[in-house]
């Protein structure tokens, strides 16, 4: 497997400078016509739809929205195209860095069977992702259970805020991985230690954002609560919670981002099944395509988690 992948990268690395410059030029050229062609295609499209409108006497809303969609899609597609172009360019210049084509081929093979289990140390990519997600979910869930109520208490009571301020400002800047040895020592196992690292790195944004939200509740609303003589429970459920929710969701988003960042590093150190350890394993096998695939997977999963939480936040927003 390992030798195969090296062989497949060798021809590209063996190319002489002249050829790689040529292919670089061609790849740059290849992106240009796309950019140039799209507006042209657009105008053609407009002309076509205008003709259609003339003949059918009804300007189609569908056509219009499709045109807007394509116009909207051009910049991000150009960005991705640029990324792949730069990648191709660098891979041609460098020894051993696989290009997009060989990486894509490796990805097709990898994802054709994502859920195989050969032995506990050799499982499909799907299992690795799911295991990492499970660790993140556990660590993040516990951090939310502790962090959000703590944030409420800190934001609500000046005394608690001042009491916890030195602890938070001291511990928050600590690199998450510095907590790993403590976790290993206390839990005497790798998996809880990894979850512990997720917990400790994910808890801070939730505490801080929730507390900031609570402390920013407008005095007007609190005056309403005072004049109505609302019970503490009603104050929390009818005023604090709805007001703080957007702040809290920001904290949750930041937390899950951090958790997903940290899991790769933590798993590299603890081992076991997971995307982080998989990256390390593939590095030991010198399977660079798989490392690049892992980078893309981590990015995509992180993006999906973020989008998922944004959707939840939108649902609960009162505005």
């Amino acid at each position: 497997m390992t030798t195969l992948s090296i062989n497949s990268t060798l021809p590209t690395a063996d190319n002489n400078a002249e050829k790689s410059v040529e292919s670089m030029a061609s790849s740059v050229d290849a992106t240009k016509p796309v950019a140039a062609a799209t507006p042209a295609a657009n105008t053609d499209y407009t002309a076509a739809s205008a003709n259609k409108a003339l003949t059918s006497q009804k300007p189609s809303a569908f056509n219009k929205s499709m045109r807007q969609f394509f116009a909207w899609m051009i910049p991000p597609l150009m960005g991705l195209g640029l990324l792949i172009a730069v990648w191709t360019l660098i891979s041609h210049q460098s020894q051993g860095l696989p290009g997009p084509v060989s990486t894509f081929k490796a990805a097709v093979i990898l994802f054709s069977d994502p859920f195989y289990i050969n032995n506990p140390n050799d499982m499909g990519i799907g299992w690795n992702i799911l295991n990492s997600l499970q660790r993140v979910a556990t660590g993040f869930g516990m951090a939310a259970l502790v962090g959000i109520p703590l944030g409420f208490i800190i934001g609500r009571y000046e005394f608690m805020s001042r009491m916890t301020a030195p602890i938070i400002s001291l511990l928050r800047p600590v690199s998450p991985l510095a907590w790993l040895p403590i976790g290993l020592l206390v839990f005497k196992a790798a998996d809880p230690a990894a979850i512990w690292v997720i917990f400790i790195s994910a808890i801070w944004p939730m505490i801080i954002n929730t507390a900031v939200g609570v402390s920013k509740v407008p005095q007007d609303y609190m005056n309403v609560a005072k004049v109505l003589n609302l019970s503490e429970w009603k104050v929390v459920t009818k005023i604090l919670f709805p007001y703080v929710l957007p702040y809290m969701m920001t904290g949750v988003r930041l937390s899950i981002g951090v958790a997903w960042l940290v899991i790769v590093a933590a798993e590299m150190l603890t081992g076991g099944v997971g995307i982080g350890f998989w990256v390390w394993d593939e590095w030991n096998n010198l399977n660079v395509e798989h490392i690049i695939i892992a980078i893309v997977i981590v990015g995509v999963v992180g993006l999906l988690l973020e989008q998922f939480l944004i959707q939840i936040a939108k649902r609960f927003s009162y505005e």
């Binding site: 005056n223 004049v227 003589n229 709805p242 009162y318 505005e319």
Partner: protein
């Protein structure tokens, strides 16, 4: 005989402020906001507190509401000392202070539930809430959120919320200050009708002379700060119901109006900053 006397005194001094002093401690040192404020308000009276901005009129209102405690002096409402906020002294806030995540109905219901929730069942509470919104003419907007209705409508909901609590004293903190002149006039007329029906005591902070004369039985005029106090109390003995258009030509109305204007702009003129 004794009892009747006490009742009469209580009636005369339904809300009573005794030797109120208020000093705020700020970063730059202490600031004496109010000095020696004494005021008696009769039951069922509509009293306006007027003065230039920064004279501490809102401070007085917040003290009666119980949101602020005076540095020294005593406040009483219906014979009891005012120690903290309570639903018998409902407040209509200047910026309406509706909770944006609740509908108009829910905003009013929150107050109704707090005051009557222990005594009445859900249907009665719903009926009270609906009646309050109907009183201010908002039956059609009960399920709207505050950001879906106009400024004037928001302020009506604020008034409905306060009235639904059936307060002994209604406190209004520049209730129409943020509204345009036409909306304001409409709401003033409505407030007059509502107050005539409910007959509850009301204290309103305002900086609008016409509003004060039109609505009040008594206008409390405050001197400028620091160490502001009550400069003069002007009784407004215009017959009710009052009509805005008729009063515009009324000599007595114009006389009262000029009294207030003289106080504000001749005797206690504020230097323009």
């Amino acid at each position: 005989m004794e009892k009747a006397h006490t009742a009469k005194v209580l009636d005369e001094r339904y809300v009573m402020l005794e030797n109120i002093n208020m000093t705020f401690v700020t970063n730059k040192g202490t600031f004496e906001a109010l000095k020696d404020v004494n005021l008696n308000i009769k039951e069922g009276e509509f009293v306006s507190i007027i003065g230039h901005s920064g004279c501490g009129k809102s401070t007085v209102l917040n003290m009666i509401a119980g949101l602020l405690t005076p540095t020294s002096g005593n406040l009483f409402c219906a014979g009891r000392e005012i120690a903290k906020p309570g639903p018998e002294r409902a407040v209509v806030f200047q910026n309406h202070s509706l909770l944006p995540w609740l509908t108009c109905f829910e905003n009013v219901y929150l107050a109704v539930d707090r005051v009557f929730g222990s005594k009445e069942d859900k249907a009665q509470l719903n009926a009270r809430t609906k009646a309050a919104l109907e009183l201010v003419g908002l039956s059609h907007a009960t399920d709207k959120r505050p950001n879906e209705i106009s400024g004037g409508m928001k302020q009506r909901v604020g008034i409905a919320r306060a009235l639904a609590m059936e307060p002994k004293v209604l406190l209004l903190d520049e209730p129409f200050g943020a509204l345009d002149a036409l909306t304001r006039a409409g709401l003033q007329d409505e407030l007059m009708n509502i107050m005539a029906k409910s007959g509850c005591t009301a204290i309103m902070v305002t900086h609008d002379v016409d509003e004060a004369v039109l609505l009040s039985d008594k206008i409390v005029m405050m001197t400028n700060g620091p160490a502001a106090t009550i400069g003069e109390v002007l009784p407004v003995d215009l017959a009710r119901p009052r009509k805005r258009l008729e009063l515009a030509e009324d000599t007595h109305y114009n006389h009262l109006r000029s009294e207030v204007l003289t106080f504000l702009y001749a005797r206690h003129a504020k230097k323009v900053a």
